[in-house]
Symmetry: C3
Subunit: 675 residues, 3 copies
């Protein structure tokens, strides 16, 4: 299914006029005109208004909002509004409230806490979605449907226990198969009745917290079940919408979000969308990773940036404002990586409750002469000028990064070796290295077709599913380069260890054997020396976990220099077929990861044109023979670099000539339409 | 109502002879004689003795204690003993036990944990108070009534939910008004029935903890409700006492205590009293702030220091003993700031349970030849010598500090900007500056009459109630100086943002406009340069939150030097009427606060006589034309300063002559009766 | 009762073939042959297999395992398998699941969490133990019985409340006696009915956590009750075994484990055994303390090392592998201190669940050519060569260390002074000093016969029971040296303070009086100068708690140099009878403890032969006139020392000659059979 049909990159975002007197709406639309805002996300938290009690629906508020938007020439992304239940619903049907990891049944409050195992929730959320779809399906303003909001979390109630058992029966069919998968002979856990199975929380298999479980199999399956169980609720509403409308349906996701395996959701989304609220201190490249992950959900189809703050967040401990130029820079970054929209949360500062200090386009005084509004208006003009030319364009990547929720979960709920590794942290480190090197890349699931890639980076791929080992071998066999690391290929789909030398099914590709893995507290390291013929040696550090490697056929690229395994390999490269398999045996510091990744890219001639300029981001989008080269300067100084291509910078109108230097200002963006 | 009638500053404190054989009592009274102890607080935890079951009262123990006290010539402050319920009561009526923030109903244990919504608790606590009042109302030893003990905490049980709904109906009358106050259109929270409302805890609106709520309005009102609900229980008992006695009634409070808004309690107390257990590491001035806050409850009427430890506490992680001289110094500090008593917890070390290592006048060996006892006896002699001359005297303050529980709660439960600000920490910093500068000051509620003050300091006054903005303007208009800060004047009484430029209703007085407020983690600062014509520039640092200020009419007194708002104002002064309104736009380090506060005081000629000597405390009490100047040396070295007045040091008997130096020893105290 | 009858030091450990196809068993036994493994611990977690439902027992799996073991010439230590209940049992009888400190009833999961107050658990665990004993009592492979596994933890359910009340009635007989013991007049806690008493947890007497209680008496008694209540379950099973077998019975303990007072268990064990999993960063000597504590349970009878990991643990945050030689070194350390076995957990890496990365003799690939296996096989050969010669041998100690769970609990649940002291930490420090000094020592309960010791070290003996004070005096009176410290002798058996000068009943022996004890945060210290005539002064630091000491008859050995008690004694020595009583008035840094301990040992000529070589461990075992001197090198360099005795190193076969140097390699071990 194509993306929503829009005349240009839609610009705008969450709009909640139901919280205001209608007199305020006039001021809103006057401001929207100033800022070229053409799309409004409406109704995300309106259930209490659209259904004031079980027997009454009142769509008049939505009607007024959507009609006014239409009259003012705006498009609407229309929400079903089910992300927060109304008070009457929780009071009447307490089972819609979740039971938390501590086993506590909650009562009414906050948002995003409905239990999707509750038949009452499913029935009522579907019904309200159906009413809204029925009423607004043909409305000319509506261009897309928005279900729920930032789905997530887990529930551990009795209803979930029952649904979990059904899910398990479907997965395992017999208890014998389940007992085998979970290795229940260990610690006398052999189940003899499905009803003996309870959700894994602090009252059952867990100790200390959600990552400390006595039975990894139970906990891993509960994460999978939870993903599917919440997805079912999304699908309920989507089915209801489909009774009346064929417009594209999405929900706003959170990209690098641990609790939901978005790869299981991908087939059910018409298009992907997400909310980009980077944590302070995380690298700029992490946002790029988020964009690529979202783009990877639908085989490279563009996605929507559904939310970002124009200025500041509110729920963090500290909520800095975005510095001048940064909102524009990050908006263009989203487009550079495949977004076909730039949307904000939200249009006007809330008056009260928990987001009253969350940034918005209009502040509490409603001013349009603030720095925030001026920057929004400037970007609006810029996007209007760019028009529709890059809508639907694709990223021509030859590098793939494997991202895998099963490995994330399995790695982090595992007892043993080191609790400090952290899947996300390691993925961000490997992606950062690729990003700094300017690799044009996709982030894909392990089931993706790898035949189009010259480099496949699969770090910390702890759990191997299906035929991924064979397909990675195939990448190398035909001349590609595969990179994997310590803690990879340790367990099968059931989280049981491979009964073979580490790294299990990747042993042939990597050409090594590991008999023991050491681990140390985070402040204790082992210096690693990296070397290639004809290059100076480089010293970096290993940390957390340390495979003691015996090379079988691989060559040694880096060695430990300390402890009883001093002199043994820390990084190896194995010639395999026409290509190679690299292995990094420890958690290298970022400079070590950079070194390895650049050697891998260089092997395939895939270093980007600006790989030597730190924090100068580059990527590419193509469509119908047109090529757009994005250059984004995340540095605080001006950059001059020679252009690898000739064309026109769409933002400044200036010509860019191959071989001649062009300038990118601090927080500046250049988008070259290549000639 | 006047304070209890005592012949001099009453000296003594908590006395629990019911824990001992009567033979020990003889030793107690012999020691009391040595230490000139003349007042005993009796019966604070005696409910299990006075009422061994629901149908039996046994006042014989109290009788023996009070009769013996009287026979020995001591006064008694008599407690109703309801601060800890007896085991039989909790077993028989489990609803008297509280439900905590986690939603857990407690069972019997500890103390201070009765739910004051429980009709059983209210009935039984009132009944035992009535019995005691009836029996001892006319007893010649009894001079005051002491209800409960260190009231506090919160309960979240079903009974509280019901009481909360009643309280809300009284406050808001209609659900529409409540929905508007709480801004419930946000996140689909519109209530359609009062019974849908539940207490705000971790099972409903909260996440992470008591300061993290999705609906500030609910949580803020729950704090107000809780204050009133506990107060009602105090009032129950007071009413019962009043049936038999007109003697003054108090309860021992905790001064800077977050959970109860003592300003709501003040009208119901005959006189204020509090327990002074400073935390190690807190500044000495924080005790002075506590004293002034308590004195401010009853319009400047003296209060009682109901408890302090002679030596050490027990419940802290580390419990240092008070160094030699410190107990005396801090006792005189209490008097200097308006205490008309010096009382200890307790007379004799407990034999067992949680306070067995809490300091007491007599240790486990019952010795009177210890350092602790000797210091107690010396102070007793000193107080006896001073007699009644300063009883009832007042503090002639021209500086007021606004202290406001609503702002405390609202600021700290708010999402957004910075979680690190901390109301108490900021209030302590501004008060510390005033204290070091020797300002004679009152700490008052926002509803207080401000017409007598030349300087009003209102830092972090986040929530504005009533006509406070107008009354602050009035202070300046008639020539006074008002000082306020970042995070002030942000929300109205319902915790909804003012829909105007920051600082809202204080915009006219401060002459500035703020469009955006930046925030940073605590270890990131912005250097601020402060300057006044004819003075050297001073560099300090801003932290946590940073208003980006546009001066409208104000002059710039300090500027930021870093980040994108370098060069913009960090401190401003606005001429207003005959006076001025100062604004501090960030959390300045202490030296910056000191600089601003001293300039504010200097503007009104209110710097104290010893403002240049750090930690040399000065304040004043006056009565009937007599004036007492207190000078307290919290330094470890001797101080010599010129006397601004002539008179006699009541403690040494030495003459003090204006213009001539006098000496204050380390931990020393000088109390000059001015001639 | 003697230890299990074995032909030599049994070698092997936990074997769980029930988790594997029988084809794997062949490989197991082939490996056992290579490693000289002759004893297998079988059945520790087999309940779900041996009893698949309430009415069915199936011992066929155990049968096959034990028969195969026997056929292969191995001995079996046979477990009853009750340490983890099967799922059907928890589902059928939810009362077998524990209620935690937070008051939460758990459901099925993890292990070690049966409530031993549950009649269902007691009935069913006893029944399965009886069945197993009945079936295998005469089996020729079985040499010992193993009940449960690492007993521990606490439960707070209603059944435990009822059992606690019964236990209290037996202890106190009358409520008056209980009220007196718990000092319930404090805080109105006087109980008038046994049923008013509830377990002390976060819902009743506790705040902040398990060490923060309002009533120490209740919490202390709950620890004692819990020890007895879990012990009863052990005894249930032992009684069932005794119906069929007279073989020795044990359970694997955890040595320095806070939750169970093993001294109360000791009479019920036929022999002691424990699992040695040292925490990274703890000193090597802590393992020696564990061994000595276990040996002390049965009056010096050797114990079994029931578990240790051959390589790494799994449940820690970081799980380093044991460095080369370390597994052997620590195995010999166990023997040196009285172990008559060397056993591992486990034979083969688990395939899945929480211990899949826990080290084992065979890794997931089942290899015997790994470093881990090679070291295991080398040690097996060494042990085989040593044979039976030192089985049953004893440690000829003249130094006793008092270890006391009552003091551990009482000290750490007490409010007051400092929460940072830590009983275990202090005991480890005093033992470390003795260990470095090479003292041959016993670790004994306060009820032990002290008549054979020349030095008794009793640090932090907070609670004094029985006649221990008199018996310590007797040690000194007859010429011995007693060493005690701050925080000792503070409370009686009920945790009520002694109503006398500190250190209470030890005042005469120590010759001092303490009126006040200061305390400071851990980073604040007081420099202490230690001096003896003819020796240079030594400077160390006191920390945490600081008794202000007045010597009555004692001499001053060390003094504080700071704060108001500068110059007063920090360490004293009192001549008493023919001997002396030393007192250390603060928590000295390790070098200070070392200094004191060495002076105490020197007073009795008990410094070891290698006291000057750090980390060169020495101890002795004797039997039937044979003497074995163990020298273990925990350093990373080779050591050469003069031999104090002549004989033969059993491991190398080399002669050792008195007065001549011998060599101990890094991680090396020398076991001299003295001629």
């Amino acid at each position: 299914m194509p993306l929503p049909s829009t005349p240009r990159i839609p610009y705008g975002g969450d709009y909640n006029p139901e919280q205001w007197e209608e007199a305020v709406w006039d001021a809103d639309f006057a401001a929207f005109d100033l800022a070229r805002i053409d799309l409004l996300t409406v109704g995300v938290f309106t259930w209490a208004l659209t259904q004031p009690d079980e027997d009454t629906y009142d769509l008049s508020v939505l009607e007024r909002i959507i009609d006014r938007a239409h009259a003012e020439g705006r498009m609407v992304c229309l929400a079903t509004g089910t992300a927060a239940v109304p008070p009457w619903l929780a009071a009447k049907y307490p089972d819609v409230c979740r039971t938390d990891f501590e086993g506590r049944r909650h009562v009414y409050g906050v948002r995003h806490n409905a239990c999707t195992s509750s038949a009452n929730f499913r029935r009522l959320s579907t019904a309200v979605a159906r009413r809204i779809a029925e009423r607004f399906a043909g409305h000319p303003a509506v261009v897309a449907w928005h279900i729920g909001n930032e789905y997530g979390g887990l529930c551990y109630c009795e209803l979930c226990a029952a649904e979990f058992r059904i899910w398990l029966r479907e997965r395992y069919v017999t208890l014998d198969r389940l007992n085998d998968a979970w290795n229940t002979t260990f610690w006398s856990h052999r189940y003899t009745d499905w009803d003996q199975i309870v959700p894994p929380n602090i009252l059952s298999e867990h100790w200390r917290g959600p990552n400390h479980t006595a039975f990894q199999g139970v906990t891993l399956d509960y994460h999978r079940f939870n993903t599917d169980n919440i997805l079912r609720s999304f699908q309920d509403e989507k089915d209801a919408i489909r009774e009346f409308s064929d417009l594209p349906v999405t929900t706003n996701m959170m990209a690098i979000y641990r609790h939901l395996d978005y790869h299981r959701w991908a087939p059910h989304l018409d298009f992907a969308s997400w909310d980009n609220y980077p944590t302070d201190g995380s690298p700029v490249s992490r946002m790029a990773l988020g964009h690529a992950l979202m783009r990877g959900l639908k085989d490279g189809q563009p996605f929507w940036l559904m939310e970002q703050t124009p200025t500041m967040t509110a729920t963090r401990d500290f909520n800095p404002v975005k510095r001048p130029g940064v909102m524009r820079l990050w908006s263009w970054q989203a487009i550079a990586h495949g977004s076909d929209s730039v949307l904000f949360f939200q249009m006007r500062h809330s008056r009260g409750a928990s987001e009253k200090y969350h940034g918005a386009i209009l502040n509490h005084a409603g001013r349009t002469d603030t720095r925030a509004f001026r920057e929004v208006a400037q970007l609006g003009a810029e996007l209007e000028a760019v028009g529709d030319r890059m809508l639907g364009s694709r990223t021509p990547a030859r590098v793939a990064v494997l991202f895998d929720w099963d490995s994330w979960w399995a790695l982090e709920i595992t007892d043993g070796h080191s609790r400090a590794v952290g899947y996300e942290k390691q993925m961000v480190a490997y992606h950062e290295a690729l990003w700094q090197a300017g690799a044009v890349l996709d982030v894909v699931p392990v089931g993706a077709d790898l035949s189009g890639y010259d480099v496949v980076v699969a770090p910390f791929l702890h759990l191997l599913r299906g035929d991924i080992a064979a397909r990675l071998e195939e990448v190398a066999r035909r001349g590609g380069t595969v990179l994997t690391t310590v803690m990879s290929a340790r367990v099968d789909e059931d989280d049981n260890a491979f009964l073979m030398d580490v790294p299990g099914p990747l042993g042939a590709l990597t050409g090594i054997r590991v008999d023991e893995t050491d681990s140390l507290p985070p402040d204790q390291t082992n210096t690693v020396v990296l070397s290639r013929v004809g290059e100076p040696e480089v010293r970096t550090r290993g940390r957390h976990v340390f495979d003691v490697v015996q090379t079988q056929r691989a060559e040694t690229v880096g060695v430990y220099t300390e402890d009883f395994y001093a002199g043994t390999p820390a990084v190896t490269r194995n010639a395999f077929g026409e290509g190679s398999g690299w292995y990094v045996a420890t958690c290298l510091d970022q400079d070590g990861v950079d070194w390895v990744v650049r050697h891998v890219l260089a092997e395939q001639n895939l270093l980007g044109p600006f790989a030597d300029v730190r924090d100068l981001e580059h990527t590419t989008r193509v469509i119908d023979g047109r090529r757009y080269e994005f250059v984004l300067n995340h540095r605080s100084d001006q950059v001059r670099v020679p252009a690898p291509w000739s064309g026109t910078d769409l933002l400044s109108g200036r010509a860019v000539v191959a071989g001649e230097e062009f300038v990118v200002e601090p927080t500046g963006v250049v988008v070259v339409e290549v000639r």
